[in-house]
């Protein structure tokens, strides 16, 4: 009963921010379109290898809202399919990075001492390396497959969570309820995951939402540099890169995928900001 009341109060605070609601609506639309891509796109067969020379490089029209690319594929279809890759990349990368970063940060903050110092110094080393450079280095050494790209991004993302969680864990590890759990004989893992973690969820969730947008952006940048997904898989970043060579005449080829990236990153940021103000006052 109380839980439901809390949820409705949280939703009330979230919905008081029109931009956050707009972001949520955008996200819902993008996610639904991506999941239902075979059913909602006008030319699902254009998502992979497909050639239609009669319709190549067409400007936006009633049948091809976003125009067509060099081999006559519908850009709108490929943008929607591109979202599939983008969202997958975001979720897989953070699905690897967040649990790792959060666990290490909690251990470092709770244990403190030498163990905490070692973990945090390693984290600092990773934080000192420019993200994109590290990803490019990893992809330079390993095969340029999607999986390796995901691993490279995860490797450069976890330290941010470790840093954030470390600071928050240090702030609450001497709170009364943590001490009370220790006094009553709770195990370290209970104290970490049962007492401390629930209090970190708001900030982790907020950062997670904001980061989904950034991961998509960095992944797009990597594919823009030719380090991402292999063709013919539709990927927003490589579509921008490919189309950029044909500016300004065939502007629709890079502009629409570019706007698509902008839109999803913006949506995640709006929702993230909404979450931040929702959790803001001590919830």
């Amino acid at each position: 009963m109380m839980a439901r009341r809390f949820q409705s109060r949280a939703w009330y605070r979230f919905s008081a921010e029109p931009m956050a609601v707009l972001g949520l609506v955008l996200l819902a639309a993008i996610t639904l379109a991506a999941i239902l891509a075979p059913f909602v796109t006008p030319f699902p067969e254009h998502a992979s290898s497909f050639v239609d020379f009669r319709n190549m490089s067409q400007p936006p029209s009633a049948s091809h809202w976003f125009g067509t690319d060099l081999v006559g594929r519908d850009v709108l279809t490929r943008v929607v399919y591109g979202y599939r890759i983008s969202l997958t990349v975001g979720i897989v990368v953070l699905g690897l990075a967040v649990p790792l970063g959060v666990t290490l940060g909690m251990i470092a903050g709770y244990a403190g001492g030498r163990l905490g110092a070692v973990i945090m110094r390693i984290t600092d080393v990773f934080l000192a390396i420019p993200a994109l450079v590290l990803a490019m280095a990893v992809l330079g050494v390993l095969d340029r497959t999607l999986i390796n790209g995901l691993i490279a991004l995860a490797v450069l993302w976890w330290p941010w969570y470790t840093r954030m969680v470390y600071n928050q864990t240090r702030a609450i590890r001497n709170e009364g309820y943590v001490v009370a759990a220790q006094v009553v004989g709770a195990s370290h893992s209970w104290v970490l995951f049962g007492e401390i973690l629930p209090n970190l969820v708001p900030s982790i969730l907020t950062k997670f939402t904001l980061d989904l947008g950034f991961v998509i952006l960095v992944a797009s940048a990597l594919s823009f540099l030719g380090l991402g997904v292999e063709p013919p898989t539709p990927d927003l970043g490589s579509m921008v890169a490919e189309g950029a060579g044909y500016l300004p005449d065939m502007w629709w080829m890079p502009v629409f995928p570019g706007l698509a990236i902008l839109l999803v990153v913006l949506a995640f940021n709006l929702v993230g900001d909404g979450l931040r103000s929702m959790f803001g006052d001590g919830m």
């Binding site: 709170e175 009364g176 006094v183 009553v184 004989g185 709770a186 629930p198």
Partner: protein
């Protein structure tokens, strides 16, 4: 260096014996002795109040008993046996805590039921249904309606939170509860009710309390014995009525005179003190002398010769003062 335990009536068994306990904190500016050779007995079923100003080491001493901190040297005996640095689950069950701040003592993300379920699930509270019944029973004991079970702490008042914290401490059926200023952040009326509850529970379950506080009027109402701490030293110790009636150590008399009084007649009976309390923190730590020497207006030559030895004034009371307040002076008003 032992208090006169033999003079206590039979049945007042020593449950916890603290022997020459030191706890040093090494800081950049030097070593601070938070506890400087504390020896005390805590008797079963009784309340020992630890009083002293902030920084006197009373919470540090509580932490040693709870096992959340380890002493630099010295021993703590529980039922005559050494308490190991790493407490086992059984030992954890027997010593519990109620903390000062009602706002951080309960995890804001957990419900009252979840909070009370933790000690039960650790200390074999049986299957889920049995634990649930026990939680309802615990809430009843501390005077919280059982339909509060699914509430979160943020919907509870300060007093209710302290009651839940007390229920959590009781859940594992402990022998000892360390009460670390459990009422100091509550309203006076709420304070009184919590104190009455504590007294009732002690009588009902034979609990032993270590009551840490700076509030002497509370001590007078609840404690059987008082130990006065100053800078890590116990400077006076004894039964509450005697200590309040005839304080001997100069620091104790100062503390007692700080109790607010209602009438001018009472005020007139207080010893005169010209003491800047705020200056205490700036003092250099004294070693090898009476800890109170830098602030004591009654210091004599022997005060700087060493830490004053204990002087027994009765079978139950002693102080460590070289120039104590003369017996029978005008302290009866307190």
């Amino acid at each position: 260096m032992r208090s006169a335990a033999a003079a206590y009536p039979a049945g007042d068994e020593v449950l916890i014996r603290i022997e020459d306990l030191w706890r040093d904190f090494v800081m950049r500016s030097g070593t601070i002795h938070a506890l400087a050779g504390v020896s005390l007995d805590i008797r079963r079923g009784r309340t020992l109040a630890l009083v002293g100003e902030s920084g006197s080491g009373k919470t540090t001493l509580g932490n040693q008993i709870l096992g959340t901190d380890t002493p630099t040297s010295g021993r703590i005996l529980f039922e005559g046996r050494d308490m190991p640095a790493r407490r086992d689950t059984q030992m954890r069950r027997r010593i519990q805590v109620v903390q000062q701040s009602p706002y951080t003592t309960l995890n804001p993300k957990r419900t009252v039921r979840q909070i009370l379920d933790l000690p039960l699930s650790i200390h074999d509270g049986g299957p889920r249904r049995q634990r649930r019944e026990r939680i309802a029973e615990l809430l009843e004991i501390v005077g919280i309606p059982s339909d509060f079970m699914e509430r979160h702490p943020h919907s509870l008042s300060g007093g209710q939170r302290q009651r839940v914290a007390l229920a959590r401490a009781l859940a594992s059926k402990p022998d000892v509860i360390v009460l670390d200023e459990p009422t100091s952040s509550l309203d006076v009326s709420v304070q009184a009710r919590i104190l009455r509850l504590l007294v009732d529970l002690q009588a009902r379950y034979g609990l032993t309390y270590l009551f840490i506080t700076h509030d002497l009027s509370v001590v007078r109402n609840i404690a059987d014995e008082v130990a006065v701490l100053y800078r890590g030293h116990v400077v006076e110790h004894g039964t509450t009525p005697e200590l309040f009636r005839a304080p001997r150590h100069r620091y104790t008399t100062m503390l007692l005179s700080s109790i607010p009084v209602l009438s001018e007649e009472e005020e007139a009976l207080k010893p005169a003190w010209d003491w800047d309390v705020t200056a205490t923190a700036a003092e250099p730590p004294s070693t090898g002398t009476c800890p109170f020497l830098p602030r004591c207006p009654h210091a004599v030559a022997s005060c700087s010769l060493g830490v004053p030895p204990r002087v027994a004034t009765s079978p139950t009371n002693w102080h460590a003062c070289c120039n104590p307040r003369p017996e029978g002076a005008d302290a009866d008003a307190r």
